[in-house]
């Protein structure tokens, strides 16, 4: 039998210590009450408009805005586990930021022979425009989302692994905040019985981080959030964060460059902008440098940025470090830049561009998870054990045609958490995305966003693929 690890139940009869109070509470709740609360949550999410758009959905009507299913059973993390995880996250993000800085400056890590030059320099996410550009504090990824899973070991214990680093424009933090708000509204009594570490100050930490990178000469920096617009899948989050921080939510058309500064158009004329929290990908930021047909960015932005007259969060070119082909080198980066042993583990990874790895992968396709190096959102991946013969055959030919485009990892037995489904309460696989903020200091709120794969047995937690979310509790001692 495959090993499994459930966050709540250590075995059929034993509940893990940090879930005991909750489990007793849950046992007291009548089923009707829980389903009434579920409906209530859905009505509120709709009214508040906490929705996301689904790409590739041609239906222009109501259907393009979906709710992300919200599960009532929280994911609980005991204090000591969070302490280790937080230490590991800090360490990892610091090393990644050092790496990005290095890549665009002395390239010491390449010279030291730790990361192969072609992995960096021929990476599509490497931005030569950023070479020798100094960004404030040397911090590139101010907002990082690190995806973590817990996998079952053969002896029944579990180990946390970092599955992926998201250093460009990670999203989901608004759901973390809204889920907590919802839980406190639906079950206030639960919070009096547990010491749940608060997360509501995240927007404050974010604003603090953004202000800390403003160009030096500015006293009261003007911070804005740049969104691609209301049709973007994460628009709710962009609007939410701007509102929570009390800053303007701008689109590319609201910005313009004059005399090497960025301005926004207001009812009182032009107003200078100092820090842009951009939720627009690099490629669309400046039509003069990147995609010429992009209307989502602002012409001339890069030149202002390079002169240090505006700060961007995140910096341009961070993608070079969160690419799946760079991922295997992160533990070595931590040792190289910080002289420390990594606290958080990587999932063992096969690079298909290496001949012997490719051979192994092709021989074990039915056991492995194969991912596109640049893929995101659960698109373009093969989950071997869950795939049909046809799917595997099709994937095999794609893989042979372009091996450098893929990596493979063992299929981890992702931990499960009890979840409300049609048939009642059942275990479903989950992951965790903590958000790490790096400005003058590294800050984070306890926990993160827990995503849950609602289909039985499914390992894909992405909201675009039918995943849901849970509130995440870090219990204080």
């Amino acid at each position: 039998m495959r090993p499994s690890f459930d966050e709540m139940n250590a075995s059929r009869t034993t509940v893990r210590e940090h879930y005991r109070t909750y489990e007793r509470w849950l046992a007291r709740q009548p089923a009707e009450l829980m389903s009434a609360r579920r409906e209530e949550a859905e009505v509120i999410f709709r009214r508040v408009g906490i929705t996301f758009a689904v790409y590739g959905d041609k239906d222009a009507g109501e259907g393009t805005e979906r709710l992300i299913p919200f599960d009532l059973i929280p994911r609980v993390i005991p204090a000591h586990e969070w302490r280790d995880m937080e230490r590991g996250l800090r360490q990892r993000v610091m090393a990644l930021n050092r790496f990005i800085h290095d890549v665009y400056h002395g390239q010491e890590i390449i010279k030291a022979g730790i990361v192969p030059a072609e992995q960096v320099l021929r990476n599509a996410q490497f931005r030569p425009e950023m070479i020798n550009v100094d960004v404030p504090g040397g911090v590139y990824s101010l907002i990082a989302g690190i995806d973590i899973v817990r996998a079952a070991n053969a002896d029944g214990s579990g180990t946390y692994y970092v599955l992926e680093d998201n250093l460009r424009v990670p999203s989901g933090v608004s759901y973390m905040l809204e889920n907590r708000k919802m839980m406190m509204r639906l079950f206030p009594d639960l919070f009096s019985e547990h010491r749940v570490a608060p997360v509501e100050h995240y927007p404050d930490l974010l604003l603090d981080t953004l202000r800390s990178v403003a160009p030096g000469s500015v006293n009261e920096p003007t911070v804005v959030v740049l969104t691609p617009g209301m049709h973007n899948s994460a628009y709710f989050e962009h609007a939410f964060l701007a509102q929570q921080m009390g800053v303007e939510l701008v689109e590319g058309q609201d910005l313009f460059v004059r005399d090497n500064f960025v301005y926004m158009r207001t009812t009182r004329g032009a107003k200078r902008v100092d820090v842009i929290y951009r939720r627009v990908d690099d490629d669309f930021l400046d039509p003069l440098v990147f995609r010429p047909n992009s209307t989502l960015g602002c012409a001339g932005l890069l030149s202002v940025y390079r002169s240090g007259n505006v700060a961007l969060a995140n910096a341009i070119g961070t993608g070079v470090a969160d690419d799946k082909s760079i991922y295997p080198y992160v533990p070595k980066m931590i040792e190289f830049y910080l002289g420390e042993k990594p606290v958080l583990q990587n999932v063992p990874t096969h690079l298909c561009r290496v001949d012997e790895d490719l051979k192994y992968v092709l021989d074990h396709l039915d056991e492995l998870v194969v991912k596109e190096v640049h893929g995101a959102g659960g698109y373009g991946m093969l989950v071997g054990p869950a795939a049909s013969k046809d799917e595997i055959a099709r994937f095999r030919s794609q893989l042979i045609a372009n091996p450098t485009n893929y990596i493979a990892q063992p299929t981890l037995a992702l931990s499960t958490c009890p979840t409300f489904v049609e048939a009642g309460i059942a275990p479903r696989h989950i992951d965790l995305r903590p958000f790490v903020l790096s400005g003058k200091t590294v800050q984070m709120v306890p926990g993160g966003l827990t995503r849950v794969a609602l289909k039985a047995g499914s390992l894909v937690v992405n909201s675009s693929q039918g995943g849901g979310t849970k509130d995440t509790w870090v219990l204080e001692d």
Binding site: R47, M230, Q243, L249, V250, Q253, T267, G269, K271
Partner: protein
């Protein structure tokens, strides 16, 4: 100080909500009137007039052909191919609100969003057939709620003023159109006392329906303590500054809020709004009727359109 684009969305959010309400008002009165005993011709005339108010006669004819009360209701309430239908207006109000939801208070956003979410259920074809007035009532109350929530929760900053300008500019336009069509239908070009009096009774229903459209029937009685006379109806709905849907009241509000947001380039728009306001303030109904009501209202609508364009140019469109 706020983003021009944000001001634009707020302005249009308010306009569309106001337009939905006014459309509901006009449809309701027309529907109520159609229940009175009358000739088929008169009934058809009423529905045709309604389409004319929104300049939709040709579009309707293209899609549905002959005038049929049920089809007109469907077209004006639920048909999203009609950009002026209540459904289209509520969607547009909601889309504009969504684009700037961060600028709105939670209550304003949720009210607008909920109105849109519930509308398709409230206006189902069976309800619309069985009890159209219930649908119109609902739309009116949702609009009251939106307005109340804006006034009751929004900081009185620029955002608020642009919302108010949008509401009252739209209302001025709608009241003027209503008057124009209703007076026109009564008597070609209206110059005052009716030359052709079919019956006092028919007159009463005609003029009182206009009053009811803008919730002014009781107000009329209170102000004039007299039988319903067209001249007084026109005076009440055009020149009385204390009548909340009159042209004078609307232009007063537009001017007031425009002053609050004035910037370097808005001087001329403000001047034109001020001139319009003083003409209404010092105008007399007998003079207006002597020059012809239709001519006056056509000119008024042009000037309202002009003010909208000026506001757009001065505040809402990009400055380089």
């Amino acid at each position: 100080m706020m983003l021009s684009r944000t001001a634009d969305h707020l302005f249009w959010m308010a306009r569309y909500m106001e337009r939905a309400e006014n459309t509901a008002r006009m449809l309701d009165v027309n529907y109520q009137t159609s229940l009175l005993p009358q000739s088929a011709e008169a009934a058809e005339q009423g529905w045709r007039g309604l389409l004319s108010i929104s300049e939709l006669r040709f579009d309707y004819a293209k899609r549905y052909g002959a005038i049929d009360p049920r089809a007109v209701l469907d077209y004006m309430v639920r048909d999203e191919r009609n950009p002026s239908s209540i459904a289209s207006c509520l969607r547009a109000a909601r889309e504009n609100a969504r684009a700037v939801r961060g600028t709105l208070t939670t209550e304003v956003w949720e009210t607008t969003n909920q109105t849109w979410l519930e509308f398709s259920r409230v206006s189902s074809s069976s309800t619309l057939r069985r009890d159209p007035s219930a649908v119109f009532e609902w739309v009116k109350f949702r609009s009251h709620l939106s307005r109340g929530v804006s006034v009751g929760t929004m900081l009185q900053d620029e955002a608020f003023h642009f919302v108010r300008i949008g509401s009252f500019l739209e209302r001025a336009d709608n009241t003027a159109r209503l008057l124009d069509v209703k007076f026109h239908s009564a008597d070609g070009e209206y110059h005052g006392a009716l030359q052709r009096r079919d019956s006092l009774e028919q007159d009463f229903y005609h003029w009182s329906s206009i009053l009811r459209t803008v919730s002014a029937f009781e107000v009329y009685r209170k102000v004039y303590r007299n039988v319903i006379q067209p001249e007084k109806v026109a005076e009440l709905l055009m020149l009385r500054p204390d009548m909340p849907r009159s042209l004078a009241a609307c232009v007063n509000e537009v001017l007031l809020n425009l002053r609050m947001v004035a910037n370097e380039q808005s001087g001329d728009t403000l001047r034109r709004a001020g001139r319009l306001q003083s003409e209404l303030q010092y105008g007399r109904i007998d003079e207006i009727l002597a020059t012809g009501l239709h001519a006056y209202l056509t000119q008024f609508l042009d000037r309202i359109g002009d003010l909208g364009a000026g506001i757009s140019r001065d505040f809402l469109v990009a400055v380089h």
